[in-house]
């Protein structure tokens, strides 16, 4: 908890972009410094994200939707550079849509994840994108794949990402167990995101959740007063 209270010496009047007195968010890149999470359950997945997009210290969008539809039963949640992740998601949606028409059936989640990985790995030097791919398919049911910065691909039963994720590893490790049902997964995701949003300056706003199963996609939003609250100390 190293919060250094810095005192401005009176004799130094440096008005530069390094100085907090002059906001420089006009020249900062738009980032989804964020918290994203996805959990598998028997029969589907739950995916969630906060809703803050920042350019430096300015919140460019406080109600962002970071849960992006890639296909009917496949969603991704995005963290990192907003531009990069939007571009990649568009490319993958296109590729997957085409592939699904060729196949004449719903694409596999693993296919979507691999398409993300292919783009993220090939252009790893230029991109800054951390993506969670989650969805349902007939072959393996609910699946969550993690494609972090650098372009690795790994399937995990529960995954978190974004700048706020570091704060909730402990909570996730201790509260997740295999065999949770859909409502327990929704509660776990909402609580974890709320905890991260409390601690991470780049995460905040509302919680967007989606649960994906064979029957379809159910989306919900938890607004300010509905966010899970923990005893303050």
């Amino acid at each position: 908890m190293a919060a250094t209270a810095s005192m401005m010496p009176i004799f130094q009047q440096q008005i530069s972009s390094k100085n907090d007195l002059v906001p420089n968010w006009t020249s900062e890149e738009v980032s989804t410094g964020t918290t994203i999470m996805a959990v598998e359950y028997d029969g589907g997945v739950v995916i969630g994200a906060d809703s803050r997009t920042t350019t430096g210290a300015y919140i460019a969008n406080r109600v962002t939707d970071k849960l992006t539809r890639i296909h009917d039963r496949i969603y991704c949640s995005r963290s990192g550079s907003a531009a990069d992740t939007q571009a990649i998601a568009e490319v993958v949606s296109y590729q997957l849509g085409f592939h699904s028409i060729e196949l004449d059936e719903r694409p596999l989640v693993e296919t979507a994840a691999n398409l993300f990985r292919a783009s993220c790995y090939r252009y790893r030097e230029e991109l800054m994108a951390g993506i969670l791919v989650a969805g349902w398919d007939r072959r393996k049911g609910g699946q969550v794949y993690c494609v972090p910065i650098g372009g690795m691909l790994v399937r995990q039963p529960v995954a978190v990402g974004g700048s706020g994720s570091s704060y909730i590893y402990g909570y996730m490790d201790s509260n997740y167990k295999p065999g949770l049902d859909k409502n327990q997964c929704l509660e776990l995701t909402a609580s974890a995101l709320a905890l991260a949003m409390e601690r991470d300056g780049s995460s905040g706003g509302v919680i967007r959740l989606a649960s994906i199963s064979e029957d379809g996609v159910e989306r919900r939003v938890l607004l300010g007063d509905q966010l899970p609250r923990f005893s303050t100390h």
């Binding site: 908890m1 190293a2 810095s6 704060y167 590893y169």
Partner: protein, 217 residues
């Protein structure tokens, strides 16, 4: 997954670490992991005790440069024992924390060490104070520090309740440290806990095989 973890700029041996202190009903628990490493690449000690006694019922935990922390606590111990002789009574916990704070603030350019001070005194009972890197001093009922602490903010926020019993608080501290050690590669080893109450001080060491295990282990 984003690059949130900055390279350790501490030269020499660093307590890349996890430290914690929490107040319960009637006392305070202070604890740490036991790993000391050089640049996060070599573990120079697996069993170092980062919970240091500065007076009979006042302990502190160190984070940052091990050399700086040892030098500061040595100076603080001698200041405190002198102070205690002058006052003819055991020092207050805030006195111990203030001594550390003065040393950290006056020497902020040279030092890279932060402290958590916890103890019991007759005036205010159990207390926890945090002295951060630049020399800020604040009082909290539960606090965590060190590189491993980032991973357990969510857990501590969710699980800590004021007025827990001693056993609950010990379990909470052990779980939190174990979770942090599971995610931070520069924290590890055993869990050292010290439980301080009006009656006295108890040391608890939880070795690796007795640490709580979580779903993926």
């Amino acid at each position: 997954m984003e690059k949130h973890y900055t390279e350790s700029k501490v030269k020499g041996v660093s307590t890349g670490t996890t430290i914690l202190a929490a107040i319960f009903d009637g006392g305070v628990v202070i604890g740490s992991d036991s790993r000391a490493s050089i640049g996060g690449e070599y573990v120079s000690s697996k069993t170092i005790n980062k919970v240091i006694q500065v007076h009979d019922q006042i302990f502190c935990c160190i984070a940052g440069s091990l050399a700086d922390a040892q030098a500061v606590t040595k100076a603080a111990k001698s200041h405190l024992s002198f102070h205690s002789v002058q006052m003819e009574s055991p020092p207050l916990v805030i006195a111990a924390a203030s001594v550390l704070k003065e040393l950290c603030y006056k020497n902020k350019e040279e030092l890279q060490a932060g402290f958590i001070t916890a103890g019991w005194d007759r005036k205010k009972g159990p207390q926890v104070y945090v002295v951060s890197l630049g020399g800020m001093l604040i009082s909290q009922s539960v606090t965590i520090g060190g590189s491993g602490s980032t991973f357990i903010y969510g857990y501590v926020d969710a699980k800590y309740k004021p007025d827990m019993t001693r056993e609950e608080c010990q379990q909470f501290a052990t779980n939190a440290l174990a979770l942090a050690m599971g995610r931070d590669n520069v924290s590890g080893g055993v869990v050292h806990l010290v439980v301080i109450t009006e009656k006295g001080v108890e040391h608890v060491v939880v070795p690796g095989d007795k640490l709580p295990r979580f779903h993926d282990e």
